[in-house]
């Protein structure tokens, strides 16, 4: 199982950011770096060297898939696991996101009490 300590969390909506911070840092115990855009994620990724990237799909400017493409060009995040987060998805859409390079998709709304466990469960299968 891949050991996860540091998570780069990319989400443009401030309200969801705050919930996720509580869910991942306070409840989940992860070291967290939050970004509000794909561009900010690319800027911070090299210095932060995350073990996992949680990436919102729909963002202004560079969306989730585009951000993933750019992150893959960086040495430090070329093979870092990525989980997309998006509003309720159909199974076909999950496969589409996996084909883009994500290890899985977590649908919104997420349970803040259970998000950390969900992530650990996903990562235990890798």
């Amino acid at each position: 199982m891949a050991q996860i300590e540091k998570i780069l969390y990319v989400e443009d909506e401030p309200d969801i950011q705050m919930i996720a911070q509580i869910a991942l840092r306070d409840i989940g115990g992860f070291i967290l770096e939050t970004c509000s855009s794909g561009a900010e994620a690319i800027e911070k990724a090299e210095a932060f060297t995350p073990d996992l990237i949680l990436l919102d799909v729909m963002m202004p400017g560079m969306d989730g898939p585009d951000t993933l493409n750019e992150l893959r060009k960086l040495t430090t995040t070329a093979v870092t696991p990525v989980i997309f987060m998006t509003a309720k998805v159909q199974p076909q859409e999950v496969q589409h996101y996996k084909d883009l390079g994500a290890v899985d998709v977590i649908s919104k709304p997420f349970d803040p009490m259970n998000l950390a466990n969900q992530i650990r469960t996903i990562m235990s299968t890798i």
Partner: protein, 547 residues
């Protein structure tokens, strides 16, 4: 603050800030709509609505999230088609935006909605809201825009998510990428008189996931209907489409059947024997509760509400025969199936036992499959009978006696546990005129539409019944008068916008409503009377009102 408290604080902040955010969204929409949408403004609006779907639900505002989801679906269509809404479509989107604002107003910070993710202490999220599943997606394909506008808006008032297409090619593409739960397809298109049927035939070869299929058409000849059936249609409705009939069919085809397991109460003085039979029934998906004291059977029946009683025949203090006779003297248990389990092989004793009101006599040791089959068959039959007895045949709501009985139970519960309880009485306005002007069939359709709207829009803990001809009663546990006003006023506004059809005629209907919040000195009759009085006052004040 610990994490729970911080989450609650965040939630409260979100709720307080949401009305202002929605005003900003509305302003953004109005500005963009006035000047004509461009790529940037449309993309921004779509993203903000999409965010609202997720954040609304995350912060426990399920109504807001679901209303936003409907608009999100509509906007996604334009994004997929790389087009912008026309003036008429923009008006439709505006109505969706207003629904979100209404949903926000309905969900105050005091709401103790059991659906809400209000405590963040749930380990999983269930987004089940009303008793009717409103997450079904429908693809509507018709080349005539006026059909889209009318049908789409009406279907969405009943909670369905509708994506519309004017040509079969776009529909087929969308269906392959994102299969719907139901398809409503016109038969005739400008380029072919049966293009709708041909399109489904093509899609069947490429898409295996099941969906409900309804055809709509001006044509009503036998050959067209047969061709529709041959591609697997579940229904054929001639235009102009009667929305009540369409909703009825969609509900039947898309709603999940109730999965509530059968419940059996087992009485045997030897608990190990009771538990053995319980485990046999459990393997068949039947829920059980065991008691070993006959004196506890009435309390257990009242609390557990079983579909069948399985009882030992010979017990030290009271026999199974005694138990059956006592139960049969109680009106509420007149029809509940009773099965004896015994070593008694004497046929005359068995006959006497059945004569006391039991259904069956099984000899111990009972063969597991036989026990399971007999219990299942009798319990299922009892359930169907009970449903028929309890429910009104037209509206499928609880009938007068059932809803009154339920109110008695709810009052007892409120008295015991001290929670709020309100009762709403609704009466359709000018109903006699509807019947006189449009016929009784149209009147029935209005009642069915209102019933459906009530079931779809109230909380899953609320109880809806048909009290009289055009009068309805809604029991709202854990709701104050103010809570009741919010729920019913929102429903009133939706009902007012529904279009009803009688042949070529279209009309609208409204209702008046009175709500009474129960207090300790009130019994069932006084609560209903008070709500009734307020309802009549609403009529005197001009009707189409909730007091």
């Amino acid at each position: 603050m610990n994490p729970f408290e911080r989450l609650e604080a965040l939630r409260e902040t979100y709720r307080q800030e949401l009305p202002q955010k929605l005003i900003q969204l509305q302003t953004l929409f109005d500005t963009a709509a006035q000047s004509g949408f461009d790529a940037d403004s449309f993309e921004l609006f779509y993203r903000l609505i999409h965010n609202l779907v997720g954040s609304g639900a995350t912060f426990g505002l399920l109504e807001v999230s679901e209303s936003a989801r409907i608009l999100d679906g509509a906007l996604r269509y334009f994004v997929m088609e790389n087009t912008y809404p026309t003036a008429k479509e923009t008006e439709g989107l505006r109505l969706h935006m207003e629904s979100i604002v209404l949903a926000c107003q309905f969900q105050s910070s005091d709401e103790k909605d059991t659906r809400c993710l209000s405590t963040f202490s749930e380990s999983h999220f269930e987004l089940e809201t009303s008793s009717i599943d409103t997450t079904k997606t429908i693809y509507l394909i018709d080349d005539e825009t006026y059909v889209h506008e009318k049908l789409k808006i009406q279907l969405e008032y009943f909670g369905y998510k509708v994506t519309s297409f004017t040509d079969t090619k776009s529909f087929e593409l969308a269906a392959k990428q994102c299969p719907p739960d139901a398809v409503i397809m016109d038969v005739m298109f400008p380029y072919s008189k049966e293009e709708g049927i041909a399109s489904i035939r093509r899609l069947r070869m490429q898409l295996s996931s099941p969906y409900a299929l309804l055809f709509i058409s001006m044509r009503d000849d036998f050959e067209t209907r047969v061709n529709a059936v041959r591609v697997g249609s579940d229904g054929f409705i001639t235009k102009p489409v009667d929305i009540s009939s369409l909703i009825d069919k969609l509900d039947r085809l898309t709603q999940k059947k109730s999965n509530e397991p059968i419940r059996v109460l087992i009485l045997d003085d030897e608990m190990t024997v009771a538990e053995y039979h319980a485990s046999l029934l459990n393997t068949g998906g039947i829920e059980t509760r065991c008691i070993n004291d006959p004196t506890l059977v009435l309390d257990a029946m009242a609390e557990y509400q079983p579909d069948l009683l399985l009882t030992d025949f010979y017990m030290p203090s009271f026999s199974g025969l005694d138990v059956a006779k006592v139960i049969r003297q109680m009106d509420e248990y007149l029809t509940i199936p009773i099965i004896y389990l015994s070593l008694e092989g004497d046929v005359s004793i068995q006959s006497k036992a059945i004569g006391a009101g039991a259904e069956d006599f099984l000899l111990k040791p009972v063969e597991p499959t036989e026990l399971l089959n007999r219990v299942k068959h009798k319990a299922e039959r009892y359930r169907k009978l009970r449903d028929k007895i309890q429910h009104d045949s037209l509206t499928k709501l609880y009938n007068h006696s059932s809803i009154t009985e339920m109110l008695e139970k709810e009052i007892a519960g409120a008295r015991r546990y001290g929670h709020a309880l309100s009762v709403a009485m609704i009466d359709v306005d000018y109903f006699k005129k509807v019947n006189d002007n449009y016929g009784h069939q149209a009147g029935d359709a209005v009642l069915k539409a209102l019933s459906r709207l009530l079931k779809q829009r109230v909380r899953s803990t609320d109880i809806v019944g048909r009290y009289g001809g055009e009068e309805f009663c809604i029991i709202l546990p854990h709701a104050t008068h103010a809570d009741g006003i919010k729920v019913l006023d929102a429903i009133r506004m939706h009902f007012e916008k529904l279009t009803h059809y009688a042949g070529k005629n279209e009309f609208h209907s409204t209702f008046s409503c009175g709500i009474c919040q129960w207090s300790k000195n009130m019994d069932t009759a006084s609560v209903i009377n008070h709500a009734d009085q307020l309802m009549y006052q609403a009529k005197k004040q001009g009707r189409n009102k909730v007091l």
